[in-house]
Subunit: 334 residues, 2 copies
Amino acid sequence: MILIQKEMQSVLFELFLKYGFNETRAKILADTHTENTLMGVNSHGINRVPAFINLVKKGIVKINEEAEQVGAFGSIERWDGRFGSGVINARKCADRAIELAKDYGVGLVALRNTNHWMRGGAYGWQAADAGCIAILFTNTQPNMPPWGGRDSRIGNNPFIVAIPRAEGHVVLDMAISQFSFGQIQEYALKKEKLPFAGGWDTNNELSDDPVELRKKQRGLPIGYWKGSALSMILDMLATLLSAGNSTYKIGQKEEETGVSQIYMCIDPRKFSDPNISEKLLNEIIDYTHDVPPMKSGDKVYYPGERALMNRERNLANGMTVDDQVWGEVMGLVD
Amino acid sequence: MILIQKEMQSVLFELFLKYGFNETRAKILADTHTENTLMGVNSHGINRVPAFINLVKKGIVKINEEAEQVGAFGSIERWDGRFGSGVINARKCADRAIELAKDYGVGLVALRNTNHWMRGGAYGWQAADAGCIAILFTNTQPNMPPWGGRDSRIGNNPFIVAIPRAEGHVVLDMAISQFSFGQIQEYALKKEKLPFAGGWDTNNELSDDPVELRKKQRGLPIGYWKGSALSMILDMLATLLSAGNSTYKIGQKEEETGVSQIYMCIDPRKFSDPNISEKLLNEIIDYTHDVPPMKSGDKVYYPGERALMNRERNLANGMTVDDQVWGEVMGLVD
């Protein structure tokens, strides 16, 4: 079905109020899940709402808690998320990192004991809207084997880099896995092979067969051994700076909770003329946009370009939402 | 042939003096090229010396110049490398980022107009030896196509993350290309295929044939479209913060020079007990080390583990250096 922005926001606001969030928090949650859907990331927008409510019901996401500062030195702070909503904690910590960047040029907030932040890119856009560059990442439960290993012991640790730009921010929002399990499921439903290997099958071989890949949850890191190392070191940074849980510790829990995250912001206007910055960015974008395509009709995009196109299209025409998902959401409201 | 550390240092020191570097600079260069070789990275250690001298002879690397500060706000600074040696500029800017981290918790130096830094990991070890976490990257000349494009317009932009650790620092040092052209050449010499695709052949198809790959210099980004986006955004960050050259501008020059780099350091001891940090890191390392291997005899390493093993072995037994390379170096000294 097709939904417009205000309709989704208003239904979700009622839903989050019903499950005990106060008005401020319900609004942040409703706006963020709607925004993620507008950006085309339904998997971490509207589709994720029922699972989130389930975690609230189980008491894993604590509705009355939010992040508080537990340590500070100059431009670095450590915060504890107290197992509140990952979205609300992320909004708060991104805001704090922005403030630190405005004061010091660069600011870093390390957050522990938080929950899934849904779409990490949302906080990249938040920083860029405030004129800041952002580098953000989270650890996760184990869902990929370290290179050479047979069991999943590293996370797909989403990594976000955002750069403010007048014509549309540049925002890289990527997990360290080549494909998400959500994408692998979509290939399975379409009865198609993946375009490249996406993980290991039951014979411990790399495979592009989504049915085989779903039997074992062993995703492939981007760049094979390189992504394996990148995942490990991002987990170390998030764990160390927050003194929080590592992927190892998160894997010992029944549900993914208590993850560790980094919010780093840089204020480029402290010594850059925004016009020069814009020119430098656009030169890079034009140079890559204008490349002759490998296959006729192919187009090269800058990071975040398609998300922005989705947003504009969805604002104009409404968002396409799976009927069953919307049915579940409406069932929770009633 | 086999060389010990002191022998290589002393020959290189004489060489760099001969080509006009003062004693301080010649020592930094000799020590860094030797250290890179000890770590097992001959390609950016001893093997690179003749090419470096060639750039000095051409006046592309300016022997009497070094980086100077051109802008500052709080914990961020902008430096200009004045086309001096990339190694000397990198040592200086890494030191400055370490100082800023000690003062503010986190510090960032953006460097423009510098030359190739050889092995980026060297500056990760430098920061970790000073007790700091480091995140470092550089842009390069264009050597990979952006995803969907036919010509090389993005760089393999090496990305380094270092974390201090008593038993041996954790240091990720990776280029964004799946394989370097040096590695592809090695497969060609051994008449072997690459284990995975490494770039595009003359038919615009992904290929694991090193002979085909060498015809066109079109490397494959790690994670396909993901590494393409990561490369682009790292170039943007380095260019924007330094107000320096982008890969686009570097590609317009005959030789790779005037690159832009980022040195970010974090002092984790500002609010972390080093013993707790060490425990958290070792838990992550043990958890990944202890994974059952995919293939019998396989072993999982943490980032930087093999480099440290190389160093220990090379310190004990001497470094294996290609006879022809050493002959060239000795020819330059005489």
